[in-house]
Amino acid sequence: MAHEHKLAIFRGAVKFKSNVSKIWGVFIFLSVVTIIEVALGIVRPDFLIDNRFLALKLLNWIFIILTIVKAYYITWDFMHMRDETTGLRRAVIWTSIFLISYLIVLILIEGDYIFEVYKSGYIKFDF
């Protein structure tokens, strides 16, 4: 990656003059996202809890999406993924995304199935 940094974030919408100012910019962005998360976690608005999308509460969707946004900026700007070659970036990101999504989908479906067995079957809450 030599010593050159790509200084634009938000798909080029915000450009920084130096790497240091970009770091502070990303820090402010991450802090704002965290504050939004904590505020939502404390208030827990009713309409976000009572409405669901794909069996998950809207509030939880918001939390998960904001978390992935934070993870993106930590990886891209703090870990300098933005400046790495395409090959390295894909080797790391695509591999992890594929394996982790696969694992989570299978395991959560299995957990939900066992929940249904407990609820409608004969097995009681015993362990």
Binding site: T67, M79, F115, K119
Partner: protein
């Protein structure tokens, strides 16, 4: 060096060696490979947490009610403020780390020293906060009763406020005589788990106080724990109650399902272990920077490599924070 390097005579060809298609050094690539595999380890843990949570989705503790303490503020309900503070500490130490990496690229030794120092301090504050969080969780808050079926029931007054069991338990039902091997069967010993009050004291106190209700581990469709009427509460405590639980450990958890405590200890513990290792590695690199090792090497790439690890620890915390405290 010359003697140990074998030249093939094909250096100008694509597969002749010496080619760096990813334009990253060996050390940095290996750090990335390690991070990918470690990320998969943490995903495995968090996925198993998700599995157990989905399994008991209607009886899982509400994190907002578990983590309500802030140091030096006693009796003040402060849900999540302290974890939010911990998150900021970790993000901020990530910022100082990336500033150290940046200063390293510009070969400014003194700035690297300053920023690495701040990073180490941030890591230590985080570790201390986590120790405090664990201690509060282990010590517990209101206390609860565990039923014969292993479920947790908690106590409320008629206004819906939580009541601590030590506040209403009957004074004393005689001195407790510790069980010893001489007085019993050779294979029985005194119980290893000793709450401050006995179940009978709690039961007597509960029956004597008409203002008390019981709250179940199970939740209604709005995600709130089900509260029983006075008659149902009495029936529940008298028929099903068995054990007083104060705080959380690997077997009993006054906040709800024991698996919640198990996963909390395991996953935040494993993450805390990563933070501790990160602080240790940062300290080693910090002294190397002071000694001028990287000045002589004419490259601060080592700071960048430990920086990658440190950011990864922050990245994991972002997910732990979401899945343990928010969702």
């Amino acid at each position: 060096m010359e003697a140990t390097v074998v030249k093939t005579g094909t250096e100008d060809k694509t597969w002749g060696g010496g080619n760096q298609p990813l334009k990253a050094s060996y050390g940095k690539m290996m750090m990335w490979f390690f991070i990918v595999s470690d990320a998969l380890t943490f995903s495995g843990f968090l996925a198993s947490y998700g599995f157990s949570r989905f399994k008991f989705v209607d009886a899982w503790p509400i994190a907002d009610e578990v983590f309500t303490h802030f140091p030096f503020l006693h009796g003040v309900e402060a849900p999540m403020y302290y974890v939010a503070f911990m998150t900021f500490i970790l993000i901020f130490s990530s910022v100082t780390m990336v500033l150290a990496v940046d200063a390293g690229h510009k070969m400014k030794q003194n700035k690297v020293i300053l920023y690495l120092f701040l990073t180490i301090i941030g890591g230590l504050i985080f570790l201390g906060s986590q120790a405090w969080e664990w201690a509060t969780f282990i010590k517990g808050d209101y206390g609860a009763i565990e039923t014969k079926g292993g479920q947790i029931i908690q106590f409320l007054d008629k206004e819906g406020e939580r009541v601590a069991i030590r506040d209403f338990a009957a004074v004393n039902d005689g001195d407790r005589i510790p069980q010893t091997r001489e007085n019993g069967l050779w294979f029985t010993e005194d119980a290893e788990y000793l709450p401050s009050v006995t179940f009978n004291q709690v039961k007597e106190g509960f029956l004597a106080n008409d203002n008390l209700l019981v709250r179940l581990q199970h939740k209604d469709e709005h995600g709130q724990h089900i509260i029983l009427s006075r008659e149902e509460s009495i029936a529940k405590v008298v028929n099903d109650g068995q054990l007083v639980v104060e705080g959380a450990n690997l077997r009993h958890n006054e906040y709800g399902h024991p698996l919640f405590a198990n996963f909390f200890f395991f996953i935040t513990g494993f993450h805390g272990f990563h933070v501790a290792t990160g602080v240790l590695i940062n300290i080693i690199i910090f002294f190397n920077v002071i000694l001028g090792t990287y000045e002589r090497r004419n490259s601060y790439e080592m700071v960048e490599k430990v920086g990658l690890y440190w950011h990864f620890v922050d990245l994991v915390w972002v997910f732990v924070f979401t899945f343990f405290y928010l969702v």
